[in-house]
Each structure stands twice: as C-alpha cells, then as structure tokens.
Amino acid sequence: MTEKTRSLAEAIAEIADGSRLAIGGNTLHRGPGAAVHEIVRQGKVRLEIVKTAGAYDVDLLCAAGCATAVAAGFVGFETPFGMAPNYRRAVEQGRVEAKEHACYTVIAGLRAAIQGVPFMPIAGMTGSDLPAARGFQTLADPYTQQAVVVIPALIPDVAIIHVHEADRQGNARIIGTRFEDVLMVQAARHVIVTTEQIVDGADFEASPESIAIAGFMVDAVVEAPHGAWPFSCARRYDYDAAYLTAYLAAATDEATLQQFIAEHLLAVPAALIEA
C-alpha cells in the first residue's frame, strides 16, 4: 500500500500556481484552515477557488492575492459576522473574478466531472440572470423538446478537505455533515486530506460504511491537529469567534489587513498558529 503521509508544507507545495482549487467545508464550518494558511505562506497565485458557500477561506485567499477567481454560490461570514470584505473589495477592484453560481450548479458541475460527462442538466434557474451572466447554456431535451439549463463539468485540479480521522493510505472519517467534500474528492485530479489525527486503518474495518473517503482516491494525507481552525470541527471545537472578529476588524483597511496577515499567518510557524 502506498504511504501518503506528507508534511503540510510538502503537500501544499504540490499545488501549482493557476490551479482550480476545491475547498471542503461550508461557511464557518470544517474548512481546511491550516492548509489555507499554508497556501498564503507559500504565496500561491492565480488560484480559482471552488466552493458552494465560503467565508474566511475565500476572503483570506482574496486578501492575500492568492485567488483571482471564485466559483461559489455564496461568500459571507453569516449573521454573527456579516459580509466578506476582502472578497467584495477584490471583485469591485477587478482583482478577482466572481464566477457566481447557485450552490446547486457547483454540485452539478462536480457531478458532471465525477460521471465523466461534459455537462449536467439541472432543474430550476428559470427567470434568473445568472445563466446569461455566467454563460450557462440551455438545451432542448432531445426526448420532449423541453428547455433545460446545462452546467459544464467543473473539474478541480486539487481538492483539499479536513477530516476527523484518516489512516496513512487516506481512508478518512468525517463526523457530522460531509458538505460537498466527498463530491470534491471524486471530481478532483489531486486530493489532499488534512486530518485531526492519523489513526491505524485497522480501526476502520469494524465499520467501513462509516468511512466517507476511500483512500485510493487520495494523494496526500497530512496530520494537522486543530487543522480546521478558525473554522469549527463538529464535536471537537467551535469556530474561533474572537479570531474571526479580529480578522474582520483588521480587514476594514488594506494596510492593517496586510499587517494582520504578516503577524498572524506569515511570521509564526504553522505549529504555533494552529495549536
């Protein structure tokens, strides 16, 4: 069996500039925070982020100049914190392209990729300006002639997800909601799994049906305790409201924001930040 464990720095180093990057989790929950911070530290550029609903991950990658496009249904910090200021500013200044999706169209694009077909028909979308603005085409159903919107396959170059437990081959357990993580793993060309802890895969034999991710689809496994921080990780820890509040306070101004990123994310070794 292939040994897939890597350091965080090694795993992130394999991401090429210009990649289409799918990020697991949803809004404030179980995003791969440690991996996102390492992407900032390594100064990746021209990334296209894929996510149904993003928050700190998308906003920070826009702030740090790593992302130039965001394909997502929603970007915001939800009611406790409000808008995503750096995503908003980057799009308004033309530094980032907002490839707005309905969340279901992200899912449809990933499903097309998973099934090896060029596009996926979906219900809904009638009356919306999104298909015209985003170039989503309408076809006639060849059987009934009814119009249907079709979403092109969305193939991530890389998917990064954070899980509760993984073995050294990449078999991985997610506790609670899986969000779109399993779809992203199946659709992507290269998969990085960060995990709260690496466990003995023999532990999974008692209930393989509870394992979300099959290791043969995974390329790199990184042990990253507290690696969702500042996102929540179900049944382990909540999102870090104090940190997110401080981040958003710094984000009101470009100078204080870059100072915040330098102090909190660049100057400090990863192990200390995530501890």
């Binding site: 404030l28 609903a53 409000g82 808008m83 707005e100 219900a123 603005a133 049944r235």
Partner: protein
Amino acid sequence: MAANTATARRTGADTNPVAAPAMMAVTLARLLQDGETVFHGVASPLPMVATLLAQRLHAPSLVYLNITGGIESRPEQLPGSTVDPRLLHGSRALVTLTDLFDLAARGRLDVAFLSGVQIDASGRINMSVIGDFARPTVRLPGGAGSAALMPSARRTILWRTKHDPRIFVERLDFITADGNVSHVVTPLCLFARRAGRLTVASLHPGVTPEMVRDATGFAVDVGPATPITPPPTERELAALAALDPGQISASEFARTAG
C-alpha cells in the same frame, strides 16, 4: 399629522429591539403547515427560529431541513450560524445538501426560505451585485441556492429584517432568482403574492399604511381597509421565549446584509 404620527411610531419601533423579531418569527411560523418539508440555508436565523417555533405550536409533523443535512433535529441551543453542527442534535438520519437540492428539483420540497438584498414587486430577488455584473459597484454575497430553489420549491417565503425603498425596489440591478414566492415578511408587514405581484396582506400592529408606502420603492395598494397582522399570542410568545432564550431571532437586526 399623519406624518408626525408615522414618524413617532417608526422611532418607537426602532427603539424596541424585541418587538420586531418576535413579530417576524411568529408571522413566519404561522405560514408553515403541519406535515410540510421546510428548508433554510446559510445566514437564516429567523427562518430557523420560525420553523422550530411552528413545530412546537401547530406543526408537530413538519419536516425541518437545513444545510447540515440533519433531519428533524432538536437543537439544545440555537446557533448564530445556521450551518452549525449544533443543528444536528437529535437528528436520527443524515442526508447531504445535494440530496436536499435534489428533493426540491423533483418537486418534493414544500417550502424554501430565501432573502434578497433587493426585492421587486413580483418577488424576484437580487443577491448578486449593485451595478454591472462583471465590474460591480458593490459585490454582494451571492444567491446561494436561490436560483435553483426558487423555481423548483413548491413555494418560497422571503424574509427581510429591514424594509426601505433601497431594498423593495421597482427595478432590480440583477435578477439572481425568480420563482414561486408566496409571501414576504418584513418588520412592517406581510406581503402575499397575488396574480404575480406582491400585495400587502396585513400591516403589523402599530404600522400605518403611510409607513409601508414610504418604505416601499414600488407602488403598493394599502389603506385603512388593510387588515392588521394579529399580534403574537401569549402562547406564541411563551413558546418563542422557551425556544430562543438567547434571542438569536434578533441577531439579524444588528446587521445590514440580508
């Protein structure tokens, strides 16, 4: 005189942070029927509270669905984020967000709760941009699942915790979603969509026709004959207080984004 009265009442409403959240939560809850499948998405504290409130009041068999995929969960503590793992508590089965969109797509989702930064007279919403789509003056969060859900859910209930002419507009900057809107609930009134157009079904207690007319950017037919929304009963208020001691239902009133 009417203007003075309206101003005085509006000031009064603004300085009472409890009244509007309770009024909206109860009004939203009353719109839900027993046995319905009901879904809310991200950033939706009032729909979360209203759905759980309806279950406790008159809809014990309502099927409560949200992005966590938990089915009929019974959260011990209401979270500020409406995708929070706390929403899994008490759930006996788990589906995915994909499953929930698929449910709507095949016509089996009864109610979707959605909102708009702008809402027009036909109940269409803009959650995308102010200005040009490619190079906007203001980039908004995006419509999440609304473009897919609004046409495919059997009905959509919109809510918005502010009611002013910049929100309720004659013309949207961008149509993020269009579809089966049945009602819109605001701090001032309940709109129902009849013959494709939002009409004022009832004014909340203390709200005058002038207040709604002044606060709405499209023409509304409202006057002395417009009914008053029945105020929350003691039973409704007691159930709300027991459900939401941390006043999560008031959390959206501190924010401008819907």
